[in-house]
Amino acid sequence: MAHDASYSAHDFKSVGTRPVRPDGIDKVTGRARYGADFNMPGQLVGRILRSPHAHARIRKIDTSKAEKLKGVKAVLTAADLPDLTDGDVAFHDILDNCMARGRALYDGHAVAAVAAIDARTAREALKLIAVDYEVLPHVTEIDEAIKSSAHVVREHVSTGSVDPELNMPPNTTKRSEFGHGDIEAGFRKAEVVVEGSYRTEQAHQGYIEPHACVASVNSDGTGELWVCTQGHFAFRHFCARLLGMDVSKLRVTSSEIGGGFGGKTHVWIEPVALALSRKAGRPVKLVMSREEVFRASGPTSATSIDVKIGATKDGRITAASATLRFSCGPYAGSWAELGAMTAFACYDLENVRTVGFDVLVNRPKTAAYRAPSAPMAAFAVESAIDDLARKIGIDALELRIRNAAKEGTKSSYGPVYGPIGIGPTLEAAKNHPHMKAPLGKNQGRGVACGFWFNFGGQTCTDLNIGADGTVTLAVGTVDVGGSRASLSLVAVEELGIPYGQVKTVVADTGTLGYNDTTEGSRGTFSSSMAAIFAVRNAIQVLRERAAKMWDIPVDDVVWEDGHAKARGKGHGNLPRLSLKQIAEAAVNTGGPIAGHSEIVADGAGVSFTTHICDIEIDPETGGTKVLRYTVIQDAGKAVHPTYVEGQYQGAAAQGIGWALNEEYVYGKDGRLQNPGFLDYRIPVCSDLPMIDTEILEIPNPNHPYGIRGVGETSIVPPLAAVANAVSNAVGVRMTHIPMSPPRILAALAAERVG
């Protein structure tokens, strides 16, 4: 049955409350099973050998000694993974990244793998594999990679430019361009112009759970994969295609997931584990070490961005332009494109132009990281906006309010906006007590806004009603941060029953139709929509069953407050039937009662946020302390407000870490210098204050309850909010993220000289 997805106002009973999550007990008692917590009978231990070189030709791999070691059951190289990608460049890149084919392209690139009876034997076997490398020149820094003298990372990657005349520098690819109006005319109209160049270093998602899986492939071509992933259906698709398996014969179960933030939307070790299992004829468990996670999963881009903005003296922006270079590792992505689209999305601009391109470097493949590419673009643009305000001599928040996009604005990436929340978040910031709090010596305050698209996509859910009237909601979107609680709330809201009567589970690929990955803030948006439709389908069945029980026409039965009620002449005094009563009678009224729904949940609705940050600098050490932090974001409708707050707080904390500390450091040898949590320092409890949140609810017109995705947007402003705060505290524009103590000391020294 087709259902209407458009928003209608509701008096919510369950949605908006804060019950305990259904998977909670398992998680506080240690019973929840994550990727590495699962075993199969007879399983082997898998291990991967990785390139110590940033760039090398693999002349020969001699595995004979490893194969002879007692207890080794399989040794794998790229030769065991034939190329089945059939000219599909994107798939070939995935294959090449999982196991180097002839050339190692970064420090940590997989070159071989083993499966053995225990960890000790597997480690021993790796040492016995002899790889003959011819070391080649490398480049790891983005600004080096685009110099005309730079060595070319991969010759056969075309610069992908739409215009060969453009004469793209080496290692650049995937040129993209957005904007409208006449940019030159806009700058001619400007009375004040600011320009700046900004750098951000590469950061990692830093999920606490390393990648882990257990794979089992049988000789009849069937297989099972247990894995921590954000999208088990997508993983099935990738793995089946890379290994030449039938999609339906590979059953993928998503474990509990210990964080992903985009990093678990890509396959890394899973095809290798399956291939090892196929070769060894036994299940294989493969778990990355933390060092492998840093060296060989997918961090975000390092960037180098130029921004120019012009305005009239009364603070109206007349033109804005940016050139964005995003590193992509050795494989082209659409990272700069996302930056180019999001850079100016908060503003109502007559003349705007952004150009982006990806830059190939000898670093691990870039992967998605929460609102991918938007934080770096926002850092550059929001820094320039602050500079512009200072130059004009008006308040930076006021400048943002004057130029904020609104309903009807033509967005900088193209389409015209519907109802959006940037104006309200800015107004809420202006009126927030945080903005009026006094600041002390060496302290500064920064404000920044952020934008993210949010997505919907393919979604499938099943709702099954048990014989006792309790309900199971099976969804296919992996729960990365409490979405099972939110989806239960939506189901009980629609059914009109108590929260405790529904249990939401994540189904495996063998038991539910295809679901897109939990990415793009889509989990709760799209699965809640599908859940609402599944419930509506089930209610239709429930009404039919009640009609049978009463022997009256189904049109005379309505569903209210979790009960079937008879309406119309003659049935007035029939006592209402509860879900439980109808379920108990199901065996005699037509069998099991269920509701299904398969949809493409489009219309996710864009999302905006404004952040305020106070910071204190220690001028002696260059150290920083975040004193106060406030997040104001539109949620459409907060289904479980506590988990919405949690998304805002977690995203802000990640952004703060990125702004102040986190960075990939490469040596001259092209090797990653800090592949561990000791030297890649993510924020700890004592680094942060409480993070205040304010949830705005501007209903999404394209969801029955008005829900928007909330997971990503709040990582967009922190780089800029923190940078603006630090810049205000030290009196110098900070242009390089992270603002680690040495960079802050250098800025202070420059100011003293300056």
Binding site: V162, E177, F178, G179, G414, F455, E519, D602, G603
Partner: protein, 81 residues
């Protein structure tokens, strides 16, 4: 007949225009006809194109009907984290 606006890089693949008029009732028909008229657009279609109708982005639903007199804007099909 609907007027369709193209994002920068797509426009360049469609002979340097940022607007085209196309006789199409659905997203699917629109993309097919666009690629027929401008073969350079096909790689973008393969990579994924999303369609914004009145500011609402449709990434996947090719059966979506294109209303008259609304803004239709083509964008790259994106993914998130």
């Amino acid at each position: 007949m609907v007027e369709v606006k193209l994002w920068g890089s797509l426009g360049a693949s469609a002979g340097g225009t940022d607007k085209v008029d196309i006789e199409a009732k659905t997203i699917g028909e629109l993309l097919r006809k666009l690629a027929e008229r401008y073969p350079g657009v096909q790689p973008h279609v393969t990579q994924g194109i999303a369609v914004s109708i009145n500011g609402v982005v449709y990434r996947d639903d090719w059966s979506k009907e294109l209303p008259e007199d609304t803004e239709i804007f083509l964008l790259p099909r994106l993914a998130g984290g």
